[in-house]
């Protein structure tokens, strides 16, 4: 966060307009692995007592003290004999996400001198309520605990929930505890922000699928970590967060494949556990065909490792000097050692560089299309999630087999992008305290930056685009959806009787009109339709916008970037007053997708000359 908030435009101090008194009354519920209450990010210096609306408690354990910053703590992890049971973070993850959303501004934070700056949350003056649902002892987060956390967070009166947790795949709503809890939260005016998942770049891997949840994908920022490997005959650049300084000393290089006496060549090349021969690797730099097993080289006495990585868009932390290279760069190193009698190399300390291409969607970030509701685009939005430095737990090493202990560490994932959007949503709420969850979601989506189309299907990677907090304060128009709209949406999906009650919690029956409603007609800020492959198609989206900008204004529709035929009716309307609503339809037609192009997209932009209300329109072929 020493770079990410600046990158998205939410500058520190007076460079971003703030509403301090309302921000101080804002409570962010963080469902995660707990928190390190001793971190400077969570000190309560300068904070008054908790907001009057707060109905929570501090039940973190006798060793966990709340303060006027961390105003509440509850723990839902099971009691395990011999393990202290408290809301203290034993993973570092919860401290990281909480401080990203709402941590104090803490100066001179760095990772051993790297990424130096002021670490801070999106809303540093806000309060934090901790709901510990994950712990290493249970290897994750139980859904019965997560549902309890929602039950309490809603009752405690939090303003917003951030939950960087998910399943391996998208689930139907009635089996999805986060969707169930978030539905009840939405009904009480609480927006739930959820990580999209880390199973990209494969399509249809997004795990957070419900439209009442704000689903966040991950991007990088303009700061990137590079770790140079200097070979005997030149140099190549790799990726990692390497704080170890070997002072440029060159060491002999050995390939894992040739450094084993008890494994086959393929296993040894991967530096698989038990394969490397200590006598052959000790004091050397070891080449490994995968970053997964580099620790094995360390165990066997290697001074450093150069490894091949499938994902060179993300720098990882290792417990000894490591640089991760792309396949072609790694092949250059292999070629060098094969052509040299006594190959040598140095692995340098990392440096940070300015990445001009940012933001780019992270390769790991889960993609749409939505595996459960094909006509709802997910993820919704993208935010920085790669190489984020934020609060950590000093009791937890920053990587496997690491002996270092840090107050701030670097993590990557949609877990990290999720609290960025939670922070932005809270920031928007400080200017518009009465806005519903859908209004906040809409404001953030329709003002997002378009993300460079570096991937084949950019909307399935980035949703509406990259979060732009300052613009989101003044969206002009919003797409609102209430609890009854979501119920109509569920009715249209044939959720009836008991199944409808399962999600909504209420005994309702669907009206005929509700049962006929199409999911794509939910008043969502993006428009998506799955159409039969190769056949001509014509789909209509019905939408209603609410004026949250100026009175007496006229909006005109513009469709850009389209290979589709898009008709907007009406394509112009006038709004006399605030909160006035206008409905329109968007009809998209085409001769059929196929021939290698299975998705087509364009953007609908409503503008009055001052506001630009942008919605992606995505049509894609079934299968």
């Amino acid at each position: 966060t020493t770079a990410s908030w600046d990158f998205v435009g939410l500058k520190k101090g007076k460079r971003a307009k703030r509403n301090p008194s309302i921000e101080s009354d804002t409570i962010i519920g963080v469902m995660d692995s707990g928190i390190n209450p001793l971190s400077d990010s969570f000190s309560d210096k300068g904070f008054g007592p908790p907001p009057k609306k707060w109905k929570g408690v501090c039940q973190g354990s006798k060793h966990f003290s709340c303060n006027n910053k961390v105003i509440g703590a509850r723990n839902y992890t099971p009691r395990i004999k011999g393990v202290p049971h408290s809301a203290i973070d034993n993973m570092g993850h919860g401290s990281h996400t909480a401080s990203t959303a709402a941590g104090n501004a803490v100066k001179d934070v760095s990772f051993y001198g790297l990424a130096n700056g002021t670490a801070r949350g999106g809303v540093p003056a806000a309060r934090i309520a901790v709901y510990k649902v994950c712990d290493p002892c249970i290897k994750g987060c139980t859904t019965d605990g997560i549902l309890s956390a929602f039950d309490d967070a809603i009752g405690d009166n939090v303003d917003l929930i951030t939950i960087s947790i998910g399943d391996d795949k998208g689930l139907p709503f009635h089996e999805d505890t986060i969707a169930i809890g978030a539905f009840h939260a939405m009904a009480k005016g609480i927006l739930t922000v959820n990580a999209a998942g880390n199973s990209g770049p494969e399509l249809s891997t997004v795990t957070s699928v419900a439209p009442w949840i704000f689903t966040v994908g991950a991007s990088n920022t303009n700061r990137a970590f590079v770790t140079k490997a200097v070979l005997g005959d030149g140099k190549t650049v790799g990726r990692s967060v390497n704080s170890f300084d070997l002072k440029g000393t060159k060491y002999p290089v050995v390939y894992g494949k040739t450094a084993s006496s008890n494994c086959d060549a393929a296993s040894a090349a991967f530096c698989s556990p038990g394969c490397l021969d200590r006598k052959l690797v000790s004091g050397k730099i070891v080449l490994c065909d995968s970053v997964q097993n580099v620790e094995e080289a360390k165990y066997m006495g290697a001074v450093a490792s150069i490894a091949r990585s499938r994902r060179t868009d993300t720098a990882l932390v290792f417990s000894f000097p490591v640089t991760a290279l792309s396949g072609p760069a790694y092949d250059v190193v292999l070629s060098y050692i094969n052509s040299t009698k006594n190959p040598i190399a140095a692995v340098l300390k990392s440096e940070t560089i300015f990445n001009q291409k940012a933001p780019v969607i992270a390769s790991y970030s889960s993609r749409g299309p939505n595996p459960i509701i094909p006509d709802i685009l997910k993820p919704d939005i993208t935010a920085p999630g790669t190489e984020i430095i934020a609060a950590y737990s000093p009791s937890v090493p920053p990587s496997i087999a690491d002996t270092r202990h840090l107050k701030y560490s670097i993590l990557s994932g949609t877990s990290m992008s999720c609290p960025h959007v939670a922070g932005v949503a809270a920031y928007i709420k400080t200017f518009h305290p009465r806005w519903s969850p859908s209004m906040i979601q809409s404001a953030i989506m329709t003002t997002a930056w378009p993300v460079n189309a570096s991937t084949l299907m950019p909307e399935f990677a980035s949703g509406a685009g990259h979060v732009n907090p300052l613009a989101a304060v003044h969206p002009g128009l919003v797409y609102e959806a209430s609890k009854s709209d979501y119920i109509a949406f569920l009715c249209g999906l044939n959720y009836t009787g008991k199944n409808l009650r399962l999600i909504s919690g209420e005994s309702r029956t669907c009206t005929k009109a509700q049962s006929k409603s199409l999911p794509r007609n939910l008043n969502y800020p993006s428009m998506t339709a799955q159409v039969p492959a190769t056949k001509p198609f014509k789909v209509t989206f019905r939408r209603t916008v609410t004026n949250v900008g100026t009175s007496n204004t006229t909006y005109k529709a513009k469709v850009v970037g389209s290979k589709l035929n898009v008709e907007v009716i009406p394509d112009e309307f006038s709004l006399k007053s605030k909160h006035e609503k206008k409905s329109f339809t968007v009809t998209v037609s085409g001769k059929g997708l196929g021939g290698g192009e299975l998705v087509a997209s364009s953007q609908l932009i409503w503008s009055d000359g001052f506001h630009f209300v942008r919605s992606p329109i995505v049509v894609y072929a079934a299968n």
């Binding site: 839902y76 139980t142 960087s164 990580a195 877990s415």
Partner: protein, 87 residues
């Protein structure tokens, strides 16, 4: 085949909280759990109650007890608790 005596944690979801002022969720949970298990003491079975913002509970149940509860009036759904992961 799963032994019917094998217990696992199930979420017993009961939807919205009734609006009645005299409704006591915990005693309601206890009574339906007692009925489903046939046990008067359910302390070792009950994992947690959902009682503030919506209604339900989590409990250690066998497959046959799950089926009994799933067919109980007031119970919307019974599904196994699972472990999710940090992202």
């Amino acid at each position: 085949a799963k032994n019917d005596q094998d217990k696992q944690v199930y979420i017993v979801y009961m939807g919205a909280l009734p609006a009645r002022v005299d409704y006591m969720p915990m005693s309601h949970h206890t009574s339906i759990l007692q009925e489903a298990t046939g046990e008067s003491s359910i302390e070792s079975r009950l994992v947690r109650n959902y009682k503030r913002s919506f209604n339900g509970f989590a409990a250690w149940l066998t497959e046959s007890e799950r089926q009994i509860l799933a067919n109980t009036e007031d119970v919307v759904s019974v599904f196994p608790s699972k472990t999710l992961k940090l992202q």
